[in-house]
Symmetry: D2
Subunit: 106 residues, 4 copies
């Protein structure tokens, strides 16, 4: 996400005085709620979906994720790279290649 | 997210030959599943949470969102700005300021 | 659910003094969290799932639903029949038969 | 749930020829989607919720759970009691009483 987009999201919240509702807990609920509006696009079929609606719902998930990063003053790249380091250990290429088992079953 | 981080996520998937599992439908399920691991951090309390676990689970949500952007060849900034245009119409400042009602009730 | 099973669930909560955590909001989070552990059984495949785990996770969803019915003093059959009356109007047989469109698109 | 209510749910599905869409995977998605419509009742407040909407959304979760029990030919009381046996071992009264830690942390 560019800084311009991030700042647009922040200004949107600020203009509406919505920071008061953006506790981490409320944002976690919001991310799940929007993730399930995204999931609804695939409720009855994996392949016959409305791409425009998928874009809108995925955008909503991403906006609330940015709100949560802001609420907790976190850096997206930092937490993702921290987690990718963990994932690389949990899913070594030689074990995980071409299979989708959970690391606890590898 | 920097291009470096995006490319790390893509290489991670490629190295494990996991693209075959990354249908939009499977990724929508994955985003919801990770969103709920994030929500679990706040299951019984809004304020007493494990920040390290929050970072890990939020990172997981963001990684699967990036996987979905990649699977559908979407640009994050484009879809977010498209959605923010819609949100600005649904939630005009003068009506939405300081209240958390859904646009259908504004 | 038999009254015996309902009473077992209630006694389980009572014995552990967990009623204090069972606000409707916390139970709504819990239902979503367990629903996503159920969804995880189908994360990468619709057909290759662990039936034992499906049973356990579906049971968890049902237990938290019962906890919520208890917390709000609701009768399961009453709310389901009330909702089924609504569904019957939203999805008349002649329009809904054999298609899975949402009522807003019928 | 009474047999009468269960049979009403089954007849509703049958009349609309919807059994074809009721794979366990689709029903797992549906349970999560409805659980999040329930969660939406508590998105911004734990205490200021619309009870009528809570009833409707909780009913939707319960209906899809019944659909899943039917699709997999499972008995509700059997799977719940099986899971309660497991829970009783994971959460012994003397350890779990009055605290909400996960069994892995008890």
């Amino acid at each position: 996400m560019t800084d311009q987009t991030k700042n647009r999201i922040r200004k949107f919240v600020e203009d509406r005085d919505w920071g008061q509702y953006h506790s981490p807990a409320n944002l976690a609920k919001s991310i799940s709620i929007e993730a399930n509006e995204l999931l609804e696009c695939f409720q009855w079929s994996d392949t016959d979906y409305d791409l425009q609606r998928v874009k809108e719902e995925l955008a909503d998930v991403l906006v609330y994720c940015q709100d949560m990063l802001d609420a907790l003053d976190l850096d997206e790249d930092e937490i993702i790279n921290m987690k990718m380091d963990m994932n690389a250990k949990k899913y070594p290429v030689e074990k995980a290649k071409g299979n989708n088992k959970k690391y606890t079953e590898l």
